[in-house]
Amino acid sequence: MKEYGNKILIIGIGNCGRADDGLGWAFIDKIKNSLPENFDCEYKYQLQVEDAELISHYNVVYFVDAHKEQFDTGFILSEGYPIATHSFSTHELDPRTVLYLAKSIYNKLPKSYILGISGVSFQLKTGLSDKAKENLSNALDFFNEKTLNLVI
């Protein structure tokens, strides 16, 4: 099987056809061309069980998704940890469950972070709201200035 080496993965989760739900993808759109070579990016509508296999090949994984809560900074970054949540649907899977599956099936647990960026509109619409764009910009600044330096 292919080995990815000392690699970092950013997973953007969302749907650009649902307004601010596209924040995870927009984050990757903005950042992917400026990332070092050891980074990979993935666009996903939602996480799936097989993503456990994907993340098992990486040392660090960022899950980036829209968040319905409003934060002063416009985003929230938290460390990911594995949890055996019992609910599963093909439309929804918690990043922490994916970490749990990676640990239990593949015996691999990458360092992980969950970046939630506040959105305000999740209607059927292409394009982010002005507030979401502002929050995205804040999240990107933080990621570039603080977070990125820690993991390169």
């Binding site: 069980v49 296999e53 055996a84 949540t85 019992h86 609910s87 093909t90 099936i105 593949y106």
Partner: protein, 484 residues
């Protein structure tokens, strides 16, 4: 006093379902219904769009089977540009079939390993905290790994042909966009970066062995749970009546195996089917016109397909079909839980077919697109993972879609799922006024065998919850439980 029981929503299915059970004054079940309460209206808002957009737009019906909608629409749009299925170039036919087999393979793997196996491995009365894919991963990590990699293999095939795993684009009117390269196909054959197609075949055989062993140990349950007579509908090969998933004739039988639709051309579907409507569901009820609404409904999907076909062209799957048929001494199988076994035979068939196609040099050819004489109507029918899928479009002289009719697999299975709910209500709920976890589980197990995609069927988007409510004879709610 009569009562009504409602289960809302149904979990581990695609979409939002609700079950109501009506009891009489002795707490005996009078009737039960499976309601689908989402609405989206894809057939309407596609009107006015240019016909060539249809294969791209309609696949947005679903994140699980977009390839099926893409291909059914493509077959219909081919006809609008004057190309019947056999007019396509051989490379285009084979590349589309490769995509289709990859889709069915990954969808069946998802259903079996992620959704159905927890019920089989732990029992439907097991604690829900354990009876899920995480529980499977914990107790059967080897099985979970195989399930994940089988689904990944199918998704990688989709990515190869359509560019990405979900909502990719492969077809163009009259053909396909791109050929396959030698380097691309070697990824699936050499086993270096992904378990090879030969491994997929081996694992498919292994999982069929598992279900056969399960059958031996649990025969009474499989033979009786949600068993009821029904018609069976699907496509078969035009030349020999064998299993066909991409392009064939429509065949149906009744519950005893008598032919009710005798290998008619798929484009004639409209002459044979009506769609009934009930006020309590957005999901329609298709049935054969000449038999009528009450008895003319059919199951579709793996069980129906294995029931109606005369054989399977690949050797290992054919061997397994014979073993499956032997379990009923060659008779038609009306036992809902055997759908899981039939689904696994199809997994093996898809794996064998993908190997044949990957090793076929036609997929390396540049002969990809054909042109014909423009028509105003196109009908595309394929066998999607969940069953017969019908796309029908009419266009005006400005190339705009003026009419669209979609009959998806789960719609065909609507009456069958209602029958399943009624079976559970009559056999497991009757006489019990309170909603219990076991009742919820049994209703879900019965519905889940059909792998329903309610989002597709109502052309709707949504969550997938189960709601169960008991009503008395006056319509008062006696008990209700909602599972998110």
């Amino acid at each position: 006093m009569s009562q009504k029981l409602v289960i809302d929503p149904v979990t581990r299915v695609e979409g939002h379902g609700k079950v109501t059970v009506h009891l009489d004054d002795k707490n005996k079940v009078k009737d039960a219904f499976f309601h689908v309460v989402e609405f989206r209206g894809f057939e309407r808002f596609i009107q006015g769009h240019p016909y060539w957009e249809a294969p791209v737009l309609v696949q947005r019906l679903c994140g699980i089977c977009p390839v099926s909608h893409h291909l059914a629409a493509a077959k219909a749009i081919d006809q609008i540009v004057g190309i019947d299925p056999l007019d396509l170039s051989l490379p285009a036919q084979k590349i589309r079939k490769l995509l289709h087999f990859g889709q069915v393979f990954q969808s069946h793997a998802l259903h079996f390993f992620y959704l159905a196996s927890p019920d089989l491995l732990f029992g439907y009365d097991a604690d829900p905290l354990k009876r899920n894919v995480v529980g499977v991963a914990m107790e059967y990590p080897s099985l979970a790994k195989k399930g994940i990699l089988m689904r990944k293999f199918g998704q990688e095939i989709i990515k190869l042909v359509a560019g990405k795993r979900i909502h990719g684009i492969s077809t163009t009117p009259g053909g396909v966009h791109k050929k396959i390269t030698v380097k691309e196909r070697s990824y699936f054959l050499d086993g270096k970066d992904l378990p090879s197609i030969d491994t997929m075949i081996d694992w498919s055989v292994e999982i069929i062995d598992f279900i056969k062993e399960y059958h031996q140990k649990n025969k009474t349950f499989l033979d009786t749970f949600a068993t009821y007579p029904s018609g069976h509908l699907g496509l078969v090969k035009k030349e020999n009546g064998f299993l066909e998933l991409y392009d064939g004739n429509l065949r149906a039988t009744d519950a005893e195996g008598n032919i009710t639709l005798d290998d008619v051309p798929d484009v004639d579907y409209n002459r044979h089917f009506y769609e009934g409507v009930e006020k309590w569901s957005y999901l329609k009820f298709p049935y054969l016109k000449h038999i009528g609404r009450e008895k003319g409904w059919n199951r579709v999907g793996p069980l129906a397909r294995i029931n109606i076909c005369d054989g399977i062209e690949t050797p290992l799957a054919e061997q397994e079909r014979k073993a499956f048929k032997a379990a009923t001494k060659g008779k038609i199988n009306n036992m809902t839980m055997y759908t899981h076994w039939a689904r696994l035979i199809e997994i093996l068939y898809c794996a064998e077919m993908m190997k044949n196609l990957l090793e076929d040099d036609d997929i390396l050819s540049n002969d990809l697109v054909r042109k014909g004489k423009r028509r105003d109507e196109g009908i595309g029918i394929i066998e999607a993972p969940r069953g017969t899928l019908i796309h029908h479009y009419e266009v005006d002289d400005k190339d705009r879609i003026t009419r669209c009719n979609l009959i998806v697999s789960t719609t065909h299975n609507n009456e069958a799922m209602n029958q399943a709910v009624r079976w559970v209500a009559q056999n497991e709920i009757s006489g019990k006024p309170k909603v219990t976890e076991a009742m919820m589980n049994q209703i879900e197990v019965a519905i889940r065998a059909y792998d329903p995609c309610l989002s597709c069927a109502t052309h709707a988007m949504g969550q997938m919850p189960l709601e169960l409510t008991i009503f008395d004879q006056y319509g008062n709610i006696l008990d209700e439980r909602i599972r998110q």
